[in-house]
Each structure stands twice: as C-alpha cells, then as structure tokens.
C-alpha cells in the first residue's frame, strides 16, 4: 500500500507536478535592496489585506469563468436576479469547497467520521511542511541581505545525500532517520555554502550562482538516479529504492491520514530559527549585515563570513525541507521529489516577511490553498489553476504595498517618502 503510493506520488496536484525546469526569472539587478526594504518594512496588515484582495479578485475570475453565470448572464436583462444568484451559487460553492478541502470536511464531521473529516487538514499540513521549512531556507539568507533563489537546488542535492543514507544504510530506527535527515541538511548546507562562499570571496551575485547551482543539482540527481548504487534494482526508470521504516517519519494519526512527524520537526525548525535570529549574537550579526552592511563592517563584523553562515543555515533548512518528502510523504527519491517547492519557498518567504513565524503562517496558507484547490476542482469544476492565480496575486500585492494601501485607503505611505527625502539632518 505504501509502495504504491510512493511510486505514484500523490493524488494531489501540488507544487511538485509543475515544471521544475523553469525557475522564475531573475530579478533585475539593483532592485534587491528595494525589495528587501519593502518586504521587511511591510506591516502585518498589508500581508493580510493582500490575501483578502487576492481572494476577491480570484472570486471575480471564478465567477466570469463559470458556465452557469455565463448562461444566466445571457438573459440578464430579463431576469437579473438569476445572474446574481448564479454568481452567489458559484462563489459560495467554490470557496466553501476550497475551505472544506483545506480545513475540515463538514459533512464527514457531522457524521462523526473523524478520519475523513480531518483528511483535508492533514493534506494541507502535509503539503505545508516542506514549504514552511523551505521558506526558512529563503528567509534566513534574506535577513542577511541575500536572495537565495537556490532552495530548489539545495533540496535536490540534499535529496541525494539524505536519500542515500535513508535507503542504503541499515541502522536502528530513530538513529537511521536522524542520520538521513542530518545528511540531507549537510548536503543542503554545502550546496548553499558554495554560493555563499563565492559571494563572500569573489562578489559573485548569489542570484546567478544559486540559479546555476539549481541546474547542476537537477542534472546531478537525474544522473545519480541512473547509477547502479542509487537506482532501485530491477527498474529502468529513475527511481531509488524505498526507504525502510527505520528512516521514515512516523505518521501522526495512523495510515489513513498522511500527516507525519516531519511537521513537528518543521515547527521546531521555525522555533529554532526564530531563536537564532532574535536571541543570539549570530542572529544579531545576520540582521545587521542585511540591514546595513557598511555599519556592520564598521562595527567589526565580518560581512563575508556572515553571508556564508547565513547561506549554510538556509541550505541546512532546504535540506531539512526535502526530508519532509523523501523521509515522509514519498519514502523514495525520484526526479520529481522536490517538485517546485524550492521556488514556491521564495513566495512563502516573501509573504512571511522573512520572519520564521511569518513563514510558518504563509506556508500553512499555501498548503491549505493547494489542498483546498483540489477539492474545489473536483467538487465544483473550478480549475485548480485559480489557486496558482491566487498565489501569484498575493505575491503581486505584497510586492506593491502602496497599491494595497491605496485600495484600502490606509495611511502610512508618507513615512516612506519621508525616509527617502530626509538626509543628513535626520
């Protein structure tokens, strides 16, 4: 049973079924400081309103793409009420399906079937777990002023190391899982560390190096998957042996719900990263370097070394993220084991304002949207692409906080103008 699931990974159209070969376009040079400022300076309200606004626009799209509404609109002038009720019908059923597919199945709950009732929440969390940790992989370097576009490659490289330890070694339960997870974190850290090292020593821009490393990791994984020592015996397709139970995250609520202990590890990772960033001298250095590198240098901090450490930490998180799939959901390494999580992580980190708890909520939100989107498609025929549109809209609004402020008429933009216009005299 578990074998069948692992080969045919999941019935859910999550981020992993998207094309992994096309990383998002590289941002134009020179804007990173601006983006950084707008992300870190944005307030919680704007994040929240961005989501609301996206849901509203998504609602419009759902309505105009609905055949019921269209046909009712044909005789709008005869019976306008029909159109409005069709709109209401479409919207409420779509968003209610989205909700029920993401959080809790209400009818199952009323029947008392708890497993079925909470299956949606389990799915949301399962999808969210790697997104959250990968979000940390982007957020931490971001705090040091670095754009880690390479979570994808770091996860891919980590899948090789962590996966190999996971299926090839024979160790006692627990220890085996720990060894596999740690190996994945080390591999992820190494891959990110390369970019950090190049940045610190040669000034090579991390956006370029991490994107290139993404390709290298991707082809490395395809190559490895065809080697005798990695490929499953008797198979011609690129797939690794199945991970034994000793190196797999246990399911939290039995076999009928996919949510596994990896989620708890993700929560711990969020807490630990928060602690590092906010309570340690290392975190202080990371924040200082990111906020004002020349002040950091003047205060005797080693900017290059801080960059390297931030990348190592981020890479370790990327490595941890991929174990959510390799040692959790999939229990096997395939070419698609990372999917596009490493790229979605960028969005999650931005939405979470590069703070660990922000990333946690953003990851959960995206996980819920993905899980709910599938149910929405199945129940109401609303295409799941709407979910991708929602995500894209959220990012768009977050990138343009002034727009959101204008829509909701929030004051506060003027303080930005102030800081631009104020000079020496503070």
């Amino acid at each position: 049973m578990s074998e069948e699931r692992s080969e045919n990974p999941t019935p859910i159209l999550d981020s992993r079924t998207r094309d992994t070969l096309h990383p998002p376009a590289e941002p134009p040079p020179g804007t990173s400081a601006e983006i950084r400022r707008s992300v870190l300076g944005m307030n919680l309200l704007v994040s929240f309103l961005s989501v609301v606004l996206a849901l509203v626009i998504g609602g419009v799209l759902i309505v105009i793409s609905s055949p019921e509404v269209l046909s009712a609109a044909f005789y709008f002038f005869d019976r306008p009420a029909d159109t409005f009720s069709a709109i209401w019908q479409t919207l409420s059923s779509a968003y209610s399906a989205l909700f029920q597919g993401a959080i809790v199945n209400l009818s199952a709950l009323s029947e008392g079937d708890l497993a079925r009732a909470f299956y949606p929440m389990s799915e949301s969390i399962t999808i969210a777990s790697p997104l959250i940790v990968a979000g940390l992989a982007v957020a931490i370097p971001f705090r040091a002023g670095l754009f880690n576009i390479g979570a994808q490659g770091q996860m891919t490289f980590a899948a090789i190391g962590g996966g190999y330890v996971g299926f090839a070694l024979a160790l006692p339960a627990g220890l085996h899982l720990a060894a596999s997870v740690i190996m994945a974190m080390v591999f992820g850290a190494v891959w990110a560390g390369i970019a950090g090292f190049l940045k610190a020593r040669t000034g090579a821009h991390e956006v370029i190096t991490t994107i290139m490393l993404n390709y290298i990791a991707l082809y490395l994984l395809s190559w490895v998957l065809n080697q005798d020592w990695f490929q499953r015996e008797g198979r011609n397709d690129p797939i690794s042996p199945i991970l034994p139970d000793t190196s797999v995250f246990p399911n939290l609520f039995g076999l009928s719900l996919r949510v596994h202990a990896g989620f708890l590890v993700a929560l711990v990772a969020v807490g630990v990263m928060w602690w590092i960033l906010n309570r340690t001298t290392l975190g202080f250095r990371i924040n200082t370097v990111g906020a004002n590198a020349s002040a950091a240098r003047t205060a005797g901090m080693n900017v290059g070394r801080t960059w390297i450490v931030a990348m190592l930490l981020g890479g370790a998180m990327a490595g941890l993220a991929v174990t959510m799939n390799v040692n959790g959901t999939d229990k096997v390494v395939t070419a698609g084991v990372v999917g596009a999580i490493g790229f979605d992580a960028i969005t999650v980190a931005l939405l979470g304002r590069a703070s660990p708890f922000g990333v946690l909520w953003a990851g959960l939100l995206f996980g819920a949207l993905r899980a709910g989107g599938l149910t929405m498609q199945a129940q109401t025929g609303t295409p799941i692409d709407i979910v991708l549109v929602l995500q894209a809209l959220i990012v768009l609004f977050i990138a343009a906080p002034a727009l959101v402020r204008a829509v909701f008429r929030i004051r506060g933009g003027s303080s930005e103008a102030m800081s631009l216009a104020k000079g020496w005299n503070g």
């Binding site: 001298t281 005797g300 005299n425």
Partner: protein, 501 residues
C-alpha cells in the same frame, strides 16, 4: 510671498514633536530657526514642504489657507527645500539634475538639454550662483553641489527657500559664500528659512530668529540685540559655556603610533601619502584640514576599513600592518565614523540594539553567543539618559531620531566602552550648542582618564578648543604638526598647503 504656519501640532506616538507652533515667514526676510537637537525644526519644515501631514494647524500663503498632500503641491505654490543630503544624481550634469522631474522634451520625446542649460545659466546669472551647467555633479565640491540644489529650487520659481542645516558640511569659505548667496536671494524678495546650529551664522545672516524648544516656540529674537550667549541660553534653557574648560594635559606613553601610512583609492590614486604621527595616552591630537584632504581615508585605514593600505599601526604594544576592524575594536579603539547614517547606525534597529552594535559579542552583553537583552535594555536606558538623547524610549528605531540625536547615540556607544584609543571623526557635526558643550567635556574627561584621543574636525573652532596638538593635512600629506597655541592664521595657511614662515 508671506508664509504663515498657524497652530502646527504633530505627534509621533506620544512624543509631541511640534506643539502648537505659529511662525510667520515674511517675504524678503531670512528667518532662522534655532533649537536644540530634537526640538522639532526639521519636522516643522517637513510639514511646510508637504512631506509630513500635521495633526492640526494650518498653512497660509499670503493669507489664504493651503493644504499640501505632497512636496509637489508645495513646489507648486513656490516653496523649495534644500536637504542636507543632496538629492542629486552624481553621474548627471548640473543641467540634467536641474531638469530632473521637470524635463523639457522636444517633439519626439527627446530631452532638450540645451534649454535646461540655458535655464541654469539664466538663474545662476540672475542670482550670482556661479556654476557650469555642463559639469558632472560628482566632480563638484560639496559647496557647489549645494548650489545646484538651490538653483534647482529657483528654476522652479521658488519664492520661499528652506535650508535645513546647509552649512554642516561646508568649509568656512563655502559657508561665507552660501551666506552671501542667501542674502542676495533675500534682497531679490525671496523668503528664506535657515536652520542651523551655528550661532555665528545666525547672527550674521538672520533678520528674525525663532527659537524652538521641545516642540514649542519659546522666543523670537532680532539678532543685533541678542548675543550668542543669550541665544544659546534661550535654546537650551540654561546657561551654556561656549568655551571648554580643558585643564592641562599630562600625556604619558605613546599609545597610537602611525608610521608611513599610505592609502590608495579604487582608482589607484594616492589619497593618504606617507603619514606618520603619534598620539600619547592622555592627550588629544586633532587632525585639521579642509574636507577631502585625506582625513576620512586616514582614520578609515587605521580602523581597517580601507582596502589598500601600506604602513604600520601600533596600538599599545601591538603592531599591525593590516589592521582588522574587529581587532582594533578589541584592542580598545573606539571609533566614531564621519557618516553616522551610513556607517554608524542601523536605522531599522532600535536604539538599544544600536548602542551595542560593536560590543554585542563581549561578555557584557552575551554569553556563549546568546544575547542578554534584559541587560542591553537596562544599559541603553542609562546611556540614553546620560547623553540626553531625546527619544520616546530605547525601542524606537534609530531612523526616527533627529539628526543630532543620532550623533549622540553613536557617541554614547563609543564613549562608554573600555578605551585605550578614541578616534572620532566630526564628533559634533549637527549637534546643538548645549550638546557640543557636553560632548567636548566628555572628550576631555576621556583624555584625562588616560586615553589617546584622535579627533578629525573641519571646524577650526573645535580644533582650537580641544586639541593639545594639531596635525594639519593637505592633499593627503601632513602639512605640519603644531602646538595648540599656534596662531589661527598659521593654521589657515597650513590648511591651504602653504608653510608659514
């Protein structure tokens, strides 16, 4: 144009920056705003320029009320503002900078730069502001760049010009030229608002002085009848001594020695040329010189902040030819950088965090890499009170402080460390007279506690007030090292590269 501010009130949280301020700025007058650091001068002017919205109060232009949503509105009614940090594009020419934001375009959308150059020429002739419209801005000295800012405002027909601490980075000569220009503008009927902490300038140039303290207007004065001491007392609310009681220095062992220091810039030019000097424990050596003669690069090189350095630096018994910032700090070298915004502070950090920026890893604030924030906060409260930093509390971000208070935060941090050497570049730039008095006293105390103090200052007054010995730099070289009693004229000649007979 007559400008009236009536009942202006602006609070940030529970801090009232402007408290029911009413000021009238008449046409053809130079109106000086005087007040201690954080009194609310910049806030008031930012309101007048449309950068901030007041909580209450109104602006009247020639008697009729106006409302400014943005600087564009203020510019439209004829208000221009020159900020201390110039908003110029360094690689553009003067004319291009002037037309920026107000470009004249030809039929195909091409810029008509020649027209802009003509406009610049016209304005600069009319008001006697000499400048070459085709010059690239980054090649110009600071004083001329400021002129470009003024021209920019004038080409947009400003009839009221706001200058916020325009003289802080100017040489004395540039300052005199600026004051002459301002007077010329006044005589042509423009109204000028001048913010400055330098009482001499105020008395020289201003027609009316409004003194603000803690967000309120406390006095209006007419210069000739009010002395500098009286002005200082009005500003600070107590007697200020304008001279430092420096006592006598008792220098001891050589603590900081610099030998044959040469610094190259990115373009391979020699900016500091074979400089050698000593600073003994218990003495203050001031480096004087016109801005841009290598002083900045010299102290940066000592602190390990320049990349291409030749020479030797001794601190205490330690010799190094490749100074590393962290090591210098660990040796007990305190450093007040010249550019506080860029190098001294992290504007998004709280004051408490800024006060431990370079000591966070010491056992005072952290153990095993874990930060003790309770201690940091307590230490911060104490320091802020001690240095009279005007801020709501220790948790506001440094970016919201007034210019002078930012400088005090940097000083508080560096002066409160265990020091063997203190290097301070322009330690009192932007400070009010009361704070200058305080900082000077602290610097003397630091000296008397046996620290070797190296101060870079372009203010001759400050140099003469503090120094035990004076090193004058000219074009990257040591033009001379003289005692503190040498006549000012000699110093002036050294600063111009002439060796006095």
């Amino acid at each position: 144009m007559q400008l009236q501010l009536r009942g202006m009130t602006k609070s940030f949280g529970d801090l009232v920056a402007n408290d029911d301020i009413s000021v009238t700025i008449e046409a053809g007058q130079i109106h000086a705003l005087l007040g201690e650091n954080g009194a609310g001068k910049s806030t008031l002017m930012n309101i007048l320029y449309g950068l901030l919205r007041p909580d209450s109060g109104e602006i009247l232009v020639d008697g009729s009320p106006v409302a400014f949503g943005s600087p564009a509105d203020a510019i439209k009614v004829g208000i221009g503002m020159v900020h201390q940090h110039f908003m110029l594009v360094p690689v553009f020419t003067v004319a291009q900078n002037v037309e920026l934001g107000d470009e004249r375009v030809g039929p195909l959308g091409f810029l008509r730069t020649s027209e802009a150059e003509e406009a610049v020429r016209e304005v600069s002739q009319r008001f006697g502001l000499e400048v070459d419209p085709a010059a690239i801005v980054e090649d110009l000295p600071v004083g001329i760049q400021q002129r470009v800012e003024i021209i920019k405002a004038l080409t947009r027909d400003a009839s009221c010009l706001i200058l916020d601490e325009p003289t802080a980075v100017l040489t004395p000569q540039e300052t005199d030229e600026l004051l002459a220009i301002i007077r010329g503008l006044r005589d042509s009927g423009k109204s000028i608002v001048l913010i400055t902490h330098k009482l001499r300038e105020v008395r020289e140039a201003a027609d009316v002085i409004t003194v603000i303290r803690r967000g309120r207007v406390v006095a209006t004065a007419i210069p000739p009848s009010t002395s500098e001491t009286e002005l200082a007392a009005l500003m600070v609310g107590r007697e200020v001594s304008l001279t430092v009681d420096r006592g006598t220095s008792s220098p001891e062992a050589q603590t900081l020695q610099v030998r044959g220091l040469t610094v190259y810039d990115a373009a391979d030019r020699v900016v500091v040329d074979d400089v050698s000097f000593d600073v003994r424990a218990g003495e203050i050596l001031c480096i004087a010189g016109v801005q841009g003669n290598g002083q900045t690069e010299l102290v940066e090189a000592i602190m390990g902040l320049q990349d291409r350095v030749v020479g030797e630096i001794h601190v205490g018994g330690t010799v190094t030819s490749h100074p590393e910032t962290r090591r210098m700090l660990a040796l007990g070298v305190g450093y007040v950088p010249e550019d506080r915004e860029e190098d001294g502070l992290v504007s998004t950090f709280s004051l408490a965090q800024n006060l431990v920026l370079d000591t966070i890893s010491t056992s005072r604030w952290s153990r095993y890499g874990i930060v003790d924030y309770a201690r940091i906060d307590a230490g911060a409260r104490e320091l802020l009170a001690q240095f009279d930093v005007r801020a709501r509390d220790a948790y506001v971000t440094a970016g919201t402080l007034s210019g002078g208070n930012k400088q005090k935060v940097v000083l508080a941090r560096e002066l409160s460390r265990d020091l063997t050497v203190l290097i301070a570049a322009q330690p009192t730039r932007g400070l009010d007279v009361g704070s200058i008095e305080f900082v000077h006293r602290r610097l003397i105390e630091v000296r008397d506690s046996g620290v070797a103090v190296l101060i870079v200052s372009t203010e001759l007054d400050e140099v003469c007030a503090l120094a035990d010995r004076i090193l004058v730099m000219y074009q990257g070289r040591v033009a001379g090292i003289v005692g503190r009693d040498s006549p000012r004229d000699d110093l002036g000649m050294l600063m111009a590269g002439v060796v006095p007979a």
